[in-house]
Symmetry: C2
Subunit: 189 residues, 2 copies
């Protein structure tokens, strides 16, 4: 028997991705989005939802581009800072010591220190409610050599983390539980 | 210096959620979506992307409802099975021994054995590319008493897992890394 918790945004895992963009004056800014996810394989797309009052919102509308920067667990302090202050008041790159490097593919900055980045141009803008969803076509994914193993991202080397909504925690992406598209075959044997 | 990996859907974490719906004849079916995420706080919404050829796609279009069922690590085998077989050929509930119970709020089945469920009605349908995104308004979230602690979901009791795209693994949501909206304040001190 399940208990009702109400109409809420409770789900696991949700990401904690740094969304970076240039404002109208060319200042790099980044915020954290948890209401986000991959949304299409071809073209490869990622969806990120922002409230209109967020500083990054106008920047994405104007530049029609953003990057999704994925931090390692060792960078959780910097990531969290990007989510608690507004680019309207502070230069978050200066405050954190993070470096904004212009993407060669889209009109948005890449956070150099975070090991994985998705460079996106806005394909579609979807108004939902207090959040608006930007669907970004992934033009390229770039990764630090240090997190690659045989040309693929090593999850253990990347050491990413997730956001847990109700308890407001970041949780490590931990041990391998099973192989996907494989363990389920045991059902039939 | 970052290395280009190409225009791919590489991101961490991504979910592995069981999306359940009734087909035109009222048969319950469920599939696994990794291209998904919360997308709005008010109204509370979750987005799930499906390819048109998936059996569940027509079911959601017809019923305009679905549920997002979140499994515990102990149920990874059942979850994975839902992702590797098609409801067009097998009765996945019969094969796995999972139980479909009609939601009281939306025209879709709930997977009784999975501890957390979001009951959704389709608010918007967004065509992207080979995937179409269904934005579901979350009408209620229900959880097993066993995963609640003081009325809130205990992440440790729920023991959810994530999907890692490139390596095709399920990874446990592990240890607490830091408190969100908190650890970043150290930057300013």
């Amino acid at each position: 028997m399940k208990k009702s918790l109400g109409a809420k945004t409770i789900a696991y895992p949700t990401p904690a991705w740094a969304i970076a963009a240039y404002d109208s004056e060319g200042k790099a800014n980044a915020m954290v989005a948890a209401w986000a996810g991959i949304c299409c394989s071809k073209p490869p797309c990622v969806a990120v939802s922002l409230r209109e009052e967020r500083y990054t919102y106008a920047a994405i509308v104007e530049r029609q581009a953003f990057t999704v920067n994925i931090a390692s667990t060792a960078q959780v302090k910097e990531l969290d800072y990007l989510g608690i202050r507004s680019g309207a008041r502070v230069d978050k790159f200066a405050a954190t010591g993070l470096t904004a490097v212009k993407s060669e593919l889209v009109d948005a900055p890449v956070i150099e220190e975070f090991p994985l980045v998705l460079e996106c141009r806005v394909l579609k803008t979807v108004r939902i409610g207090i959040h608006t969803q930007f669907i970004g076509e992934i033009m390229d994914v770039k990764a630090d050599e240090a997190v690659l193993d045989g040309g693929k991202v090593s999850v253990d080397a990347l050491a990413p983390f997730a956001y847990a909504p109700e308890t407001h925690e970041y949780r490590a992406l931990g041990a391998v539980v099973a192989r996907a598209f494989s363990v389920g075959k045991q059902i039939e044997s």
